[in-house]
Amino acid sequence: MRLKLEARAEPSPLMGYLSPLLAAGLTIIAGFILFSVLGKNPLQAFYTFFVHPIRDLNGIAELLLKASPLMLIAVGLACGYRANVWNIGAEGQLVLGAIFAGGVALYFYGSDSKFVLPMMVVAGAIGGMLWAAIPALLRTRFNTNEILVSLMLVYVANLLLSWLVNEPWRDPEGFNFPQTKQFTETALYPALIAGTRLNVGFLISLAAIAAGYLFLNRSFKGFQMRVAGLADAAAKYAGFNANGMIWLGLLLGGAAAGIAGMGEVAGPIGQLLPSVSPGYGFAAIIVAFVGRLHPVGILLASLLMSLLYLGGEAAQMELNLPSAMTGLFQGMLLFFLLGSDVFISYRVKVVQPPKAQARLKEAAA
């Protein structure tokens, strides 16, 4: 007996929805095995990783706080991914957004103006878009692979940030630490729930989800991008502007990542540090895929990914496991999703190898 994949006549929409759930389930099972191998009680570890972090209001607030940049970036990336524009440098665009927004905050340091914060949002978006414009320009003008260019720029962005906080923007009273001054209140997102770190940035992310839905699923441009992603030749035949879509896909992703970066420095961090993100730009790629490039799916997937971040921190504190477990779980989740996706286009069929078939025939005769 052997298993064989058989192509479905049409992709199964049901499996499209079930596959992320299957992937999440498989990740949890793999987690159980991993915890057991590491000599931890799997049930207790599971509780610490997935339940303990969100047991109270503060935990929920943290969950939403970390989900905010993830959903924002992922919905921006989804715009490009739908058109097969592979921007994987969101992490760098996030850093540029943080730098631009941080620059505004430092320039207007101590200002009472209500406009500092909105200006930081705009600056963050511009920073992210500028960084994303480089791969867009090189791709449309010189046919250069946007995957490699956007990724290389992540390293450059981090080095740029490192230079800024070490040299020109370093806080002279910061005991020689590589960091800028703490932003003043007008340059920080107001809290959404008193006593927690959840801030107004969450609302911006929710707005982005709604805007993403309107754009991707309800607008003609969004439709064009989907066509370009599914059937390149059809899009060309229809006369859709291919270069325009590359630009749009990358700029939307860059703007979203830039605003997310702004949200980190105007939110939980409150200043520029050598590192402003625990890999949100990369994790958002997984969020986009697990969310099926659909804004509602992305919203749910961002909550799951955020929980993985919190779980990693909890596992470090309570179980003495390295917080790098987060990355491990994130990677596994994406693997299982890609594997489960096979059931969308194929069904598994049990076939008898020729020898067994012959034997069966003999037996029948």
Binding site: M152, Y155, N166, G327, G331, L334, L338
Partner: protein
């Protein structure tokens, strides 16, 4: 003169991880498989090799472990893309993201461990040649291994029958299948070979070059290796040239600092990444070159029925 010799020798050492990873990826891509997981594979190879060498005290066990880890990593990729028909771009990204997490996780206990530096192997007679001797023949063993790999890959791809079959699969899996070649099996082998070499590149970095384990220490070299394959228009000899050029750019910062040049460290560190972008632009500008040289079926899934 001594400085120039030192720079050239150092460029070769710094370029060696790229040679391993890029030649491995070249073979994979020649079979039509685009594995973007090189960075993650190198990281897992590096940490596996380092941990094994630190635990057993034998660097060669470490080398073996790093290669096995590379095979296992690329095996995951092969199952996803060749059996389960997953998108190669997405699966490669997944492999890298997974590798970053896995290596950080595995490497935690080894962060403050150091390995003894490996003594270079001086080739008798040859290493006595002025200039060329110290540049080429006073290296650690893996550098010589990388040259053997270059010779082997060049011979295999262009002089052997098996290499011809592999290339034909990269050009047209349909025709190769029709003739009766096992497309999936050969793509598997090519992918696993690429993984083993990426693992070896990581091992060279962690066990011989630095030699220590730092989280994320591959620092984009896996991606640069991918760019090198494009830059080299899928030819082994050009991979070598490119790898050593990048090795030179990588070490430029140390020599600049040593020479008392006051250029911002961060700017010098960003040079390899900027250089990658520039050479990619330069080579991709001419669409025809890429189209003529890239394996036709690169990145395209194939399922024999």
């Amino acid at each position: 003169m001594d400085t120039i010799v030192a720079i050239l020798a150092a460029a070769i050492v710094a370029g060696t991880p790229l040679v391993f990873a890029a030649l491995g990826e070249l073979v994979t891509e020649k079979a039509g498989v685009l594995n973007l997981g090189v960075e993650g594979t190198m990281l897992v190879g590096a940490v596996s090799g380092f941990a094994t060498a630190a635990t057993t005290g034998n660097v060669w066990f470490g080398v073996l472990a790093g290669m096995v880890a590379g095979v296992l990593m690329s095996g995951i990729f092969a199952i996803l893309t060749l059996n389960l028909m997953a998108n190669q771009v997405a699966s490669g990204l997944a492999l890298t993201l997974f590798g970053v997490g896995l290596s950080a996780f595995m490497g935690k206990p080894y962060e403050s461990v150091t390995l003894a530096a490996q003594a270079p192997l001086e080739i008798p007679l040859l290493s006595q040649i002025p200039v060329l001797g110290p540049v080429l023949f006073k290296h650690q063993i893996l550098v010589y291994v990388s040259w053997a790999l270059f010779a082997g890959v060049s011979w295999f791809l262009y002089k052997s029958r098996a290499g011809l079959v592999l290339r034909s699969i990269g050009e047209s899996p349909e025709s190769a299948h029709a003739i009766g070649y096992p497309v999936i099996r050969i793509r598997y082998l090519a992918t696993l070979f690429g993984g083993a070499m990426a693992g070896l590149g990581g091992v060279h970095l962690a066990e011989f070059y630095t030699p220590l384990w730092v989280e994320g220490m591959v620092a984009g070299r896996g991606w640069i290796a991918l760019a090198l394959v494009v830059f080299a228009t899928w030819r082994p000899a050009r991979v070598m040239v490119g790898a050593y050029l990048f090795g030179g750019v990588t070490i430029a910062q140390f020599f600049a600092q040593g020479a008392g040049v006051t250029i911002t460290a961060q700017f010098l560190s960003s040079l390899p990444y900027l250089a990658t972008i520039i050479v990619l632009v330069f080579i991709s500008r001419d669409m025809a070159t890429i189209r003529l040289n890239a394996p036709v079926s690169l990145g395209r899934p194939y399922r024999p029925d």
